[in-house]
Assembly symmetry: C2
Homo-oligomer: 208 residues x 2
Amino acid sequence: MAGKNSFRNHSERKLLVLVDMDQVLCDFEMRLLQEFQSRHPNDPFIPLEERRTFYARDQYAKIRADLADNIRDIYNSEGFFRDLPEIPGACDAMKELKEMEGVDVFICSSPLTSYEFCLKEKFQWIEEHLGQEWLDKIILTKDKTVANGHVLIDDRPNIKGAIRKPIWEHVVFTACHNVHSDIRGKRRLDNWTDGSWRDLILDLQMRV
Amino acid sequence: MAGKNSFRNHSERKLLVLVDMDQVLCDFEMRLLQEFQSRHPNDPFIPLEERRTFYARDQYAKIRADLADNIRDIYNSEGFFRDLPEIPGACDAMKELKEMEGVDVFICSSPLTSYEFCLKEKFQWIEEHLGQEWLDKIILTKDKTVANGHVLIDDRPNIKGAIRKPIWEHVVFTACHNVHSDIRGKRRLDNWTDGSWRDLILDLQMRV
């Protein structure tokens, strides 16, 4: 985490906010579980409150190896990413963020290695839920350390990549799988509905 | 252009090289012209040595408005991006770059607003021409100023976006449309075949 107290490495005077998609804007876990229960009604499942790993398939694999394959088949299916429900309040918050003075916002998402559907469907989701002008605000990258911004709001507790000390501060968006995780002193954002995201942005803006 | 003489804003000790796709790795202009001539054999065309604008459709529009639409229809077609020929030597250079000590390389490409085919086909091109492991090295973004690296090798003479002073130095990859452009003191890379890219990288590495 770079620049917890200041953004010395940044020449930018606007606050550049990077926001992850899955589990921050889109409810990946809920849809995955619903689809799993629908496709495999007789198999054991992991309720959301018992999800612990970043990748659902890792936790399902510990129950039975074939369940991990079933999980992967679901998110590799056509329509999965396009039809993800919204995390409550996410799109209204994004639109408000975009209008805030001195703020610029980008969506920073990591596509699946199986890219048959997810690339296009991520764009479709953004177009449908936020509007066509947001297509210019999408950064798709497996390695988020090479994205440039003051803050990255992302549910993955540990984000690693080519750059050892990313330029952004990582704020962990609370999700079922990370609520018990050790986030090593990072800040959390728990939701888009209680207004705390505005306090976070105002605090970050004071350091730009 | 940030850090022409030093990379003071970067905490990274490896040289991070960002490389554009169209007209740097993939020969967009040649294929566009060939397809235009094939589809519209009786219409006037612009030979590559007379191309002057970054967007081909802008130059075709000056000849006749409908030609610009024909140009757009071609690059919006299924298969256009997937089947682009390679710029000579590009893939060998990328593979060699990736193996160089103290260098990390990413592909930084801007997708079309009409994303129906181009997102997936850019990934297909990389997978086919460079290999599956390179899928982890792709950054798709309309705004390249939010990509983080020491250098961006890109044929577009002027790259603008949310960040006024991008962290990278922009090296202009010479293309038919920019060969006569004023590149305002930026350096050029003319091709991937005469070995000059190695000199560029060695020079940049001395400043990391």
